[in-house]
Amino acid sequence: MVSPVSCCQTAGGCCPTASWYLWTDSDSCSDWTGSFSRTSRSSHSEDRSKMASLGCFLRSGNNAVSVVLRREFSKTPPAAVQVNVRDALNQAMDEELERDERVFLLGEEVAQYDGAYKVSRGLWKKYGDKRIIDTPITEMGFAGIAVGAAFAGLRPICEFMTWNFSMQAIDQVINSAAKTYYMSAGAQPVPIVFRGPNGSSAGVAAQHSQCFAAWYGHCPGLKVVSPWNSEDARGLLKAAIRDDNPVVFLENELMYGVPFDLSEDVLQKDFVVPIGKAKVERRGTHITLVSHSRCVGFCLDAASVLAKEGVECEVVNLRTIRPLDVDTIEASVMKTGHLVTVEGGWPQYGVGAEICARVMEGPAFNYLDAPAVRVTGVDIPMPYAKILEDHSVPQIKDIIFSVKKVLNM
């Protein structure tokens, strides 16, 4: 008999859903097992009393009882914790700060304000002024300082409040960080992470809405990653911090508050998502959708709608912009014969353009039954009015429309 038990795991915040499964060999269920009930959101005190009961039960020394975490069991869903992207980033930084003394965070409002978008909440309280540094509003200066610190052996995380402001500092990112290992013929590595929200938000207008994936993705010497969900965010940030090279980490403000289930494996302290590997989020046979960041979610939504019409989309989450995982893309295109790329950035010289060019130049071209097309942001500066803004970014209907066009439906 299996009695589900829920308990609360504090993983850097309130994480409501965790399930342990108690497998008893014994037929004799005491009455107290009935008090365990599975709820999706239990209060802390409720859970603590349940944990206490469980503790008593275990200490009672009843034989023939084994507590087993069973994830494969068909009737029981796997142990998972709901973590939003913000918290995933926060936990990743917290764990990496703890793991390596040389890691530190600097940027505007990262310390006492808890982060402009609360991504660094709690870190200053825990680690103090030495490791969480509030900077003045001087991007070029503090980005240069971060790179210099990386030269001298530290492992900085340099936050840009949004990637739009990185343009003030772009010389330091490209000329001082990206190129130095090459110019020095391997004498001077630059283990730095630049991170911050990228791309469009909601109602912040033209100067605060640009996507920089294509700009940074253009440059050799940089690794550029663009996570979609919490697993991506956590694993890629850990990988980026552990990487001995400059990594441009493009987050998305509208994704910060979105929760995702994270399995126990993902919550391990050494969990990393390898940089340079895309993930197939949904298997399909008729068409390949390649995307990154928030648009991956739109692709999955479009795929659900299309599935009702019998079109099975394969959705590839790039995870990394540079180096681009061409192999995964090609394998998918060779299977489906059709390709649509989806991104929030502008079309000209963009991520989608690069993907299409690569597919043209490689073996997958011969498998295409139709030209590959791109779904992108509209080629204009971002307007403010809601109706205009909504029509400036790719919507789910645009993806569905494009899929049908490519499939000649």
């Binding site: 900077t135 240069g144 210099g148 610190a149 001298a152 530290l154 000329n175 590595p189 050799p220």
Partner: protein, 431 residues
């Protein structure tokens, strides 16, 4: 100010600071070597201002057979007073130079000088290409700064970097081979003139002003790691107006970083004189709340004492300090600039004859009997040979192998494929 050296049991007042190379011509006399001892004995008693000058003349006749035990082991020189900004006290007004130090500084400055002149020659022969910014005239800065810090301190500069690459531990061979783009170059031919690196030396930076925040980052690391080291961050009069430098002044002061900002003011930012580029040419004051010093950058001892003073300031936890070194470059901005359209040949010649850093040191040493003219000539010959050998290496060493084209993109990574010029050209990058 009484000196602290002994020469044949007598104390003597020496004033070496004002000497310039107008006496240099007098070193050319044929020596009457045996006369020397007599002459110096006669003149030793003279405490007059010109006593030094005459002794210098006498010193020119020192026989090479004279033993080193006869040389002055140490002398103290008056050095120019330093202009101060937000400082009550500055560096001392005298500097003590030992014979060993003098010979070392002389040799290093001469090496830089000859290396740069050789680079000029190779550039004109088109063996060096691209950018080549020469440092001759400014040698006292690089050598003096290094005299005030140690190799465990850190230093970063802009593109006029060959001299610093040498003082920071590079060899002439690997510097020249980098200029000629060979595999034996200090950056294996991948960097060139502006991108040379050694331990605790972060280049060599091509983007004007960018090196200054980088230097502050290095200083941040020194403070973070608690290793009592500091970072010297150099920039020119042209760069001194860069916004990012003011951003760096601000953060360095807020966080009390152990950084010495040094403005090498050689009067011209490319072709633009300081009067034409800067509303305020008092670069040592531009740090505003940061204490500043304006130093004679043609006098290696001045530079050294000021650097020591600045280093003490940093190491005592007081935060940043700013030094302006007034110096001069004989060459134009780079090899593509003859350097005479925005300044006169007369000006260049005047500085050469009156303020040359190597001549100044040489005069001091000779006039104080710290070395013989033959000895210095021997050093010159040895330096020339070193440069010739290095040039020989730099012109005969092969260029880097094509396999190296894509290497050193990422550190500590698996090899990966790099797209070549065509889709069919697949190259490999290794770390």
């Amino acid at each position: 100010m009484p000196s602290r050296f002994n020469l044949i049991e007598e104390d003597r007042q020496q004033k070496g600071g004002e000497k310039r190379s107008e006496t240099a011509g007098r070193w050319q006399h044929d020596s009457m070597q045996k006369m020397l001892t007599i002459i110096s004995n006669v003149l030793r008693g003279s405490a007059s201002r010109h006593g030094a000058q005459v002794v210098s003349e006498a010193a020119s006749m020192v026989a090479s057979s004279r033993s080193y035990a006869d040389f002055t082991p140490e002398a103290t020189f008056d050095i120019k007073k330093v202009d101060l900004h937000r400082l009550e006290e500055g560096p001392p007004l005298t500097a003590t130079l030992t014979r060993e130090e003098g010979l070392k500084y002389y040799r290093t400055m001469q090496t830089i000088r000859r290396m740069e002149l050789k680079a000029d020659q190779l550039y004109k022969q088109k063996i060096i290409r691209g950018f080549c910014h020469l440092y001759d005239g400014q040698e006292a800065c690089a050598v003096g700064i290094e005299g005030g810090i140690t190799l465990s301190d850190h230093l970063i500069t802009a593109y006029r970097a060959h001299g610093y690459t040498l003082t920071r531990g590079g060899t002439v061979r690997e510097i020249m081979a980098e200029l000629t783009g060979r595999r034996g170059g200090i950056a294996k031919g991948k960097g060139g003139s502006m991108h040379m690196y050694t331990k605790n030396f972060y280049g060599g930076n091509g983007i004007v002003g960018a090196q200054v925040p980088l230097g502050a980052g290095v200083a941040l690391a020194c403070k973070y790691l608690g290793n009592d080291q500091l970072c010297v961050s150099l920039y020119g009069d042209g760069a001194a107006n860069q916004g990012q430098i003011f951003e760096t002044y601000n953060m360095s002061s807020l966080w009390k970083l152990p950084i010495i900002f040094i403005c090498e003011n050689n009067q011209y930012g490319m072709g633009t004189s300081v009067e034409r580029s800067s509303a305020s040419t008092e670069y040592y004051k531009r740090g505003d709340y940061i204490p500043g010093l304006r130093v004679d950058g043609m006098d290696v001892l001045c530079v050294r004492e000021a650097t020591k003073f600045a280093a003490d300031h940093c190491r005592s936890g007081k935060g940043p300090i700013l030094m302006e070194l007034q110096t001069y470059r004989y060459h134009g901005h780079s090899m593509s600039d003859p350097g005479v359209s925005y300044r006169t040949r007369e000006e260049i010649q005047e500085v050469r004859s009156k303020s040359d850093p190597i001549s100044m040191l040489k005069d001091r040493m000779l006039s104080n009997n710290m070395a013989s003219i033959e000895e210095l000539k021997e050093i010159d010959i040895a330096v020339r040979k070193e440069i010739e050998d290095a040039a020989q290496f730099a012109t005969t060493d092969p260029e880097p192998p094509l396999d190296d084209l894509c290497s050193h993109i990422f550190a500590n990574d698996q090899p990966f494929e790099v797209r070549g010029a065509t889709p069919w050209t697949k190259l490999t990058s290794t770390s």
